[in-house]
C-alpha cells in the first residue's frame, strides 16, 4: 500500500527533529511511504542540507523516493497552509491512495500506517483515526529528555470531533481515492486551527472510522521550554499578538463551521 506523508519544515536549525520524524516514516512496516517535505523559503544551501539528510536516512528499497518542495515568494507571511496544499498536490500527482501528515517535531510508531491502511481498506472508510500519546520533554542541546508520557486526547467519534479537535495531525490517514479531491486543501487565509477546519470539511462529507482509538500510533512532543510549533511558540512574538492571532482564526473557524454540512455514517460511532 502506497502512503504519502506531508511534512512541513520551516526551521533549518531543527534538522535533528526532522530526522527523527523521517526515521519514524522510514521504519513504517507493511507499507511503502513517500515523504513529501515542504519547506518554507529555504536558501539553496538549506535545501541541499535537507537533500543530504534524506540521502543519509532514506534508503529502504520498499519505500518510494522522497520529494522536496521549497515554497518561495517575496513575502514573509506565514505560509503553513500553502505548504500543506503544495504537499497535497504532490500526493495527488504521485498516484498514491493514502495520505497522512506529520509535523516535523512529532513522530509515528512503526505500525501506524499498517494499522490505518488495513482499517481503511477493510471498513471502506475515507478517514481512519487512531490515538497519539503526549511526550513531555526537556530539550537539551544534544537530545530531548523524555520525562513524562500521557494520553490526554479523549473523544470517541465524529460527534466529539466536531465539538472539539481531539485528533492531532498525525493521528489519522485519508484514503484519497474515495473522496471528492476538491476537499483536499487548507485555507490559506488561516494561520491557526487551519488543520481543524480542514478536518471538519473532510469528515463532514465522508465515512470515518474510529475503531483504532484503543491503539497508539505515535507521539505529540511538547517541549518544556515552550518552543513547540503551536500558536504559543516563541516565534510568534509577545503574548498579546499570539492571543489576537488565535482569536481571529477561531472566529474564522466558527464562521466556516456554520456553513459546513455534515453527514453521519454508522462507522462514525
Amino acid at each position: 500500500m502506497n502512503v504519502s506523508c506531508v511534512v512541513r519544515f520551516h526551521d533549518s536549525n531543527s534538522v535533528a527533529y526532522l530526522e527523527r520524524a523521517l526515521h519514524s516514516l522510514h521504519t513504517q512496516t507493511e507499507v511503502s511511504v513517500k515523504p513529501i517535505i515542504v519547506l518554507q523559503r529555504f536558501s539553496n544551501a538549506e535545501v541541499a542540507k535537507i537533500e543530504s539528510v534524506l540521502s543519509r536516512n532514506w534508503y529502504f528499497p520498499e519505500h518510494q523516493p522522497p520529494e522536496i518542495i521549497n515554497f518561495q515568494d517575496d513575502s514573509n507571511c506565514d505560509a503553513r497552509s500553502k505548504l500543506m496544499n503544495l504537499g497535497m498536490n504532490c500526493h495527488l500527482e504521485s498516484g498514491n491512495s493514502f495520505l497522512g501528515f506529520l509535523d516535523y517535531d512529532d513522530f509515528l510508531y512503526s505500525h501506524a500506517y499498517a494499522t490505518l491502511t488495513k482499517t481503511l481498506i477493510e471498513k471502506n472508510a475515507a478517514v481512519a483515526f487512531a490515538r497519539v500519546e503526549l511526550a513531555k520533554v526537556i530539550p537539551l542541546k544534544d537530545y530531548d529528555f523524555v520525562y513524562d508520557m500521557s494520553k490526554p486526547y479523549s473523544g470517541k467519534n465524529k460527534l466529539d470531533l466536531l465539538r472539539d479537535n481531539f485528533c492531532p495531525l498525525h493521528s489519522y490517514l485519508i484514503r484519497t481515492d474515495l473522496i471528492d479531491q476538491s476537499l483536499l486543501f487548507f485555507r490559506e487565509n488561516m494561520t491557526r486551527v487551519e488543520d481543524y477546519e480542514f478536518l471538519i470539511r473532510l469528515i463532514g462529507q465522508n465515512p470515518c472510522d474510529f475503531s483504532n482509538l484503543n491503539k497508539f500510533i505515535g507521539c505529540y512532543v511538547m517541549r518544556s521550554d515552550g518552543t513547540n510549533t503551536t500558536p504559543w511558540s516563541a516565534e510568534c512574538g509577545d503574548v498579546e499578538s499570539k492571543t489576537s492571532i488565535w482569536a481571529e482564526n477561531v472566529k474564522l473557524l466558527n464562521m466556516y463551521k456554520s456553513s459546513t454540512e455534515v453527514k453521519f455514517y454508522a462507522s462514525d460511532f
Binding site: E19, T29, F60, F107, Y109, I138, M149, K215, C219
Partner: protein
C-alpha cells in the same frame, strides 16, 4: 583598653568585611550617625556584634556554627578576619567556602572530612582573606549567585565591580530604578520566591539570604513546582541509592547547581552547550573495531533486510570505525535462509538447538573478542540510525571504556530512569548493549541459565558489582519499536507467553541474587495466573551472588521494571 580598641578599629577599617556605611544605615538612628565612627559604635556595643556588617559577614550566622564562637568575648568579625578565615569557617550564608574551593580547584571536594578540610585550608591560605579570594578568583560566592548572570540580567557592568555580591548587598536587593528584586541566578527566580512567600517581602527580607539559610531547609523551593519536580529528585536519589538527593541543599551541592536536572524548567548548562560526553572525541581519528552481534530466531525477511541495510549504511559513513557483523542462529532449520541474507561467513549456528538470547550473544562475543575493541549486541527486529556506532565508541571512550552502555531506543526510549546529564542507569537493556573488550574479559557474558528476560538485568548488576558503570547514550540511536505492546492486545496467548517468560526470568534472578522473599512472590504470581502448575518445580541457579554484593547492587524495589520509570 583604648589601645585594644584602636587595634580592633584598625582591623575593621582595613577590612571590606566591615562596611561602615552599610552598618550605619542599617543599624543606627540618623542623629547618631555622625557622632562617632561606625567602627567605634560597633565595637562598643556588644548587641551589635551579631549583625551583618556587609555582604561578606554576618555575626549571628558566624557564631551559630560552633560553640567556641558563641563564647567569644570580642567581636566575631575580628575572630574571622584574624583566625576564622584561615580555619575555613563560613562567614555568612552568602559565602559558601566549599563551593568556592571546588570552583577554584575545578573539581568536587573529597568526601572524607579530614581530607576535605585539609584541601580547603591549602586553597584559602593562598589568599589574604575572603575578599581577596573573591576579588582575585572572580568565582561565584554561592550556588545561587552567578556573578555573570547577576550583572547581565540586572544591566550592571561586570567589569566595574570588584566583587558583585558586595554590590548586591550594599545597594539593597532591589533595583534602584524600578524596585524590582535583583535576580542572582538562572536557576531560581527571586521575584517568584517572594511572590509565593509574601511574609518575606513584607519584612523586607533578603530573599537570597533567606533561601540559603531557611528556605531550602524549609522546602520552600517546593513551591516552585514549575522549576523542580519532586519525582526528579526522588528518581535521582533512587538511582544513586542516596536519599540525600531528595533534599534540595544536597542536590545543589552535589550538582554544583548546574549538573543534574531537577525538573522540566531547571536550567542546565547543557541546555545550550553540548555535553562533553558527546563532544569529546568527536573529531578523533583513533581507529577502532566494533562487532555487531545479533541472535536470530524466527525472524522475517523484511526485518533482517532492514537490519542489514542499516548496518551497510552505517559502515559506509564510518571513517575510523571498522564495523563487522555476526549472527547467531538459534533456529538452525532456517540457517540457509539467514545465509542467503547475511552471507555464510557471518552466520554461526547453534550446535544444541535454541540455547537462548544470552548464550547466543556469549557465543558471538567469544568470536568477536579479542580482535574487536567493542561488541554491540542488537536485536534483529531493529535497525541502526545514523552514526549510532560512532556515537557509542566516542561515548564509551569518554567514560574511559569502563561502562556497559545502552543505545537510545527509538521511536521511544526505554522508560526506565536515567540521569539526564550523567547518564547513569540501573540496568542496560539487551536490545542494544555496547561493551568494551576489557569489561567482557573481566565480567564475562550473560548467565546461560536464564533463557530469556532478565538476563540483561543480571548481566548489568554483575557489571556494576565488578566496579563498572551502567549508562545510556542518548545520541546513539537504535530503532526498536515495542510500542505495539502498549495497545490493547488482540492476542492473549502471545501476551501470556511473554509474561510467563518474564516471571520465570525474574524468579531466577531473585533466587540468584538472594532475594528469596521476592522470588516467592514471583512464584506465587506464576501460580495465581495459571502460568505454571501449583507446586511445579522451577530450576534454581547453581550459583548464588554473595549477600554482601547483592545488598550493594541488586534492587527489587520496582517490581518487574527493576528501576524507577519516567513514564508508562
Amino acid at each position: 583598653m583604648i589601645s585594644k580598641l584602636l587595634h580592633k578599629k584598625s582591623i575593621l577599617q582595613q577590612s571590606p568585611l566591615f562596611d561602615g556605611e552599610y552598618f550605619l544605615k542599617s543599624y543606627c538612628k540618623n542623629e547618631e550617625i555622625q557622632a562617632v565612627s561606625a567602627e567605634v559604635r560597633f565595637l562598643n556595643e556588644r548587641s551589635l556584634w551579631s549583625c551583618a556588617t556587609s555582604g561578606f559577614f554576618n555575626g549571628e550566622y558566624y557564631t551559630y556554627q560552633s560553640d567556641d564562637l558563641k563564647a567569644l568575648s570580642y567581636p566575631p568579625i575580628i575572630h574571622y578576619i584574624t583566625d576564622g578565615y584561615f580555619e575555613a569557617r563560613r562567614p555568612s550564608a552568602l559565602i559558601d567556602i566549599d563551593y568556592l574551593v571546588s570552583q577554584i580547584i575545578d573539581e568536587e571536594l573529597p568526601d572524607d572530612d579530614h581530607e576535605r578540610h585539609k584541601l580547603k585550608l591549602s586553597v584559602l591560605d593562598q589568599y589574604a582573606g575572603i575578599y581577596d579570594l573573591l576579588k582575585s578568583t572572580k568565582k561565584n560566592p554561592n550556588k545561587l549567585f552567578d556573578n555573570q548572570y547577576f550583572c547581565e540580567i540586572n544591566n550592571i557592568n561586570l567589569d566595574e565591580l570588584e566583587v558583585p555580591i558586595q554590590y548586591y548587598y550594599r545597594n539593597g536587593v532591589y533595583c534602584s530604578d524600578n524596585g524590582a528584586v535583583l535576580e542572582t541566578t538562572p536557576l531560581f527566580c527571586m521575584e517568584k520566591y517572594l511572590g509565593k512567600n509574601e511574609d518575606l517581602r513584607v519584612a523586607q527580607v533578603n530573599p537570597l539570604e533567606h533561601l540559603l539559610t531557611h528556605g531550602l531547609r524549609e522546602k520552600r523551593l517546593r513551591c516552585m513546582n514549575d522549576l523542580i519536580i519532586e519525582s526528579f529528585l526522588d528518581n535521582t536519589a533512587d538511582l544513586y541509592q542516596d536519599d540525600r538527593f531528595k533534599d534540595h541543599e544536597y542536590f545543589l551541592s552535589k550538582s554544583l547547581a548546574c549538573g543534574q536536572i531537577a525538573g522540566s524548567k531547571w536550567k542546565s548548562v547543557y541546555s545550550d552547550n553540548s555535553n562533553p560526553a558527546f563532544s569529546d572525541g568527536r573529531d578523533s581519528e583513533l581507529e577502532s573495531h566494533v562487532t555487531l552481534g545479533t541472535v536470530l530466531y524466527n525472524n522475517s525477511e523484511q526485518e533482517l533486510k532492514r537490519l542489514k541495510s542499516s548496518i551497510d549504511k552505517e559502515r559506509e559513513f564510518s571513517e575510523y570505525v571498522t564495523i563487522n557483523d555476526l549472527y547467531f542462529v538459534n533456529d538452525v532449520e532456517n540457517t540457509e535462509f539467514y545465509i542467503s541474507i547475511f552471507g555464510e561467513d557471518k552466520v554461526i549456528q547453534s550446535e544444541s538447538g535454541n540455547i537462548g538470547f544470552g548464550s547466543g550473544h556469549n557465543a558471538l562475543m567469544e568470536h568477536a573478542f579479542p580482535e574487536s575493541d567493542y561488541y554491540f549486541g542488537i536485536n534483529p527486529d531493529g535497525c541502526l540510525i545514523r552514526d549510532c556506532v560512532k556515537s557509542l565508541v566516542n561515548f564509551s571512550r569518554h567514560y574511559n571504556d569502563a561502562s556497559l552502555v545502552e543505545a537510545n531506543i527509538l521511536p521511544l526510549n526505554h522508560p526506565k530512569w536515567h540521569d539526564p546529564v550523567l547518564f547513569d542507569t540501573k540496568w542496560v537493556s539487551g536490545a542494544a548493549f555496547f561493551l568494551p573488550r576489557g569489561l567482557w574479559a573481566d565480567v564475562g557474558g550473560f548467565d546461560q541459565n536464564i533463557h530469556m528476560y532478565c538476563e540483561d538485568v543480571d548481566f548489568s548488576w554483575r557489571v556494576k558489582a565488578a566496579g563498572y558503570s551502567l549508562k545510556v547514550c542518548p545520541t546513539a540511536n537504535f530503532f526498536h519499536d515495542v510500542t505495539s505492546r502498549n495497545s490493547v492486545s488482540d492476542d492473549d496467548a502471545v501476551e501470556k507467553r511473554r509474561k510467563r517468560s518474564m516471571l520465570m526470568g525474574a524468579y531466577h534472578l531473585a533466587v540468584k541474587w538472594q532475594a528469596q522473599d521476592v522470588a516467592d512472590e514471583y512464584y506465587q504470581t506464576l501460580v495465581n495466573e495459571n502460568l505454571i502448575l501449583p507446586h511445579q518445580k522451577i530450576d534454581k541457579p547453581a550459583q548464588l551472588i554473595p549477600k554482601s554484593v547483592s545488598a550493594e547492587v541488586a534492587d527489587f524495589g520496582h517490581g518487574l521494571r527493576f528501576s524507577p520509570s519516567r513514564f508508562w
